[in-house]
Assembly symmetry: C2
Homo-oligomer: 368 residues x 2
Amino acid sequence: MIGPRYTSLVQSLPASVPFVGPETQERARGEAFRARLGANESVFGPSPKAKAAIAEAVKEAWMYGDPESYDLRAALAAHHGVGMENIVVGEGIDGLLGYLVRLLVKPGDAVVTSDGAYPTFNYHVAGFGGELHKVPYADDHEDPLSLIVKAHETRAKLLYFANPDNPMGSWHDAATVQHLINSAPEGCLLVLDEAYCDSAPADAIPPLDASDTRVIRMRTFSKAYGLAGMRVGYAIAEAGLITAFNKIRNHFGMSRVSQAAALAALEDQDYLRETVTRIANSRDQIGRIARDNGLTPLPSATNFVAIDCGRDGDFARSVLQGLVARGIFVRMPFTSPQDRCIRVSCGRDEDLAAFAECLPAALDEARG
Amino acid sequence: MIGPRYTSLVQSLPASVPFVGPETQERARGEAFRARLGANESVFGPSPKAKAAIAEAVKEAWMYGDPESYDLRAALAAHHGVGMENIVVGEGIDGLLGYLVRLLVKPGDAVVTSDGAYPTFNYHVAGFGGELHKVPYADDHEDPLSLIVKAHETRAKLLYFANPDNPMGSWHDAATVQHLINSAPEGCLLVLDEAYCDSAPADAIPPLDASDTRVIRMRTFSKAYGLAGMRVGYAIAEAGLITAFNKIRNHFGMSRVSQAAALAALEDQDYLRETVTRIANSRDQIGRIARDNGLTPLPSATNFVAIDCGRDGDFARSVLQGLVARGIFVRMPFTSPQDRCIRVSCGRDEDLAAFAECLPAALDEARG
């Protein structure tokens, strides 16, 4: 038996599972985490209206979702002041990034990102055989100038930029981001991942221009909207690019219940504002806990805070292990020198109390 | 501006949207369909326990789904008597077919299917540049012998076979299917799409052998389980092939609420049996309606019935148009001579009453 004949590209990909969820860790621990603060989800949950929409949509769970996601796209278009033809809805930003890479990247094509930025983007680039060129962070920020230089040097087809950034929580102002859009080389598409835009200062987000062929902007209901479990992301771009997604996407990939949930969440902007306030308060609280323990919280425009543990990556990894061992699910950056930090998602008072309770012992242990 | 630089493969793909949902037709009509009998969904709906699981899982909608779909895979493994390592869960069979084609097919690779079989499979093959070789149906059945011959001739990497079949509803017995598995050429993987297996006679489904590297079997919660709107499919195959999916799949692509719904649906086998009885009764009812109108219902092992309208494709298309114009959503085969039929999904009494009410006028109109 020779078995299935994989493509040579697939044969070259690592067989190890690249993503480990908190549930896997919980199964290994034999018990649930006390506080789930590692995946930048919104423990504040979605709008009660979104919950009600899910309960209502149960009646329609037997029907496939509308392959056009028409109602949701119409509402998003009105919300953002762009055309429906400028919006594609997909199975989270992760799913849309996969489609986007597939549209543009064939084996050997150059792609630029920051060293330590979103692993799932890198996973998709590798999965389609792209050649990834990484630029270091500068002072814990993605570095627009170096990214642009690298995109020119490599004749990159795609340039990934998250604003605000994950895993550092840092951000650039709108003028800088617009300058980045304007400076992308001809034929290089800027992937502007704005998953965390809802919790960012207004002056960090450049205005939408859906006629601009140089940029695609990715948004999600998984962060401030509190619907990570429903898997709804969307992208805003020039109509020609949006149309291209229709050539390859899984047209019946969207859950009907998720479409209804996202629509209801979008319509409850009051709740979103409340959540953003909760996020801001929680960031302050995480900052206080960090400082109380002699650590330095980094400024954040996201729903998490990177905490500088003050030493090297090995030390921060020990702190993280100590927290995880005590039932606090957190994560941390992969790349030096950002890996001197741990990354703590915003939480409710009880979540942060558990974190505050466990941090001193984790630090003591790490200090040996 | 030269804009995004698509791969040459993507540039070669048709820009037209290949899938039109009933919602698109409803928007064009300006009103909802009276009866939704075109997408082989289960209007009988999911188990009340699945509905309750969705309502309960709302509390967890803020959390990403477990990327391993561990609980669901464990339950499926126990249900089918295979190992967890033999199961991958994905965003419907459609999503899994896309991943599978990507694993095996590079531009120019040969793939074999039946002419008129599942369009979404063909869409994925085209989307990865595969060369599709089609074999005609024989007597409204997929033709195992001709498929095998074609797979040998073309050195195909993939051979698609649905049992029971869509769009004809026909089926082969287990011995024939097992013979097909045994006869696949070395290095040709048989994609055995068993979306409709739950409503098939027991002797149509060969036993599972998860050590067999020659076949992958696709199952879904979208048909008899009544959860099309939740987007949960799975595949059963030899562990090496299942592992390969982990190299490319969207690890966080599954809705957490959908995982919970599918698990609860699986656990309610009594409800599944009730649904299968309802499906059988509904098939009989559709058959009676067809015969009452001088038409011939074809035998079906699925949750739909292909009705032979007795003339050519143009005639059947007119009948279909007449039904759609009267608010009855049905579909039909694309390929001659199967396109002499319309395809009517099983429904409740009220759905079929609406169909029965509209069919005579649609036929009169088509007869001119």
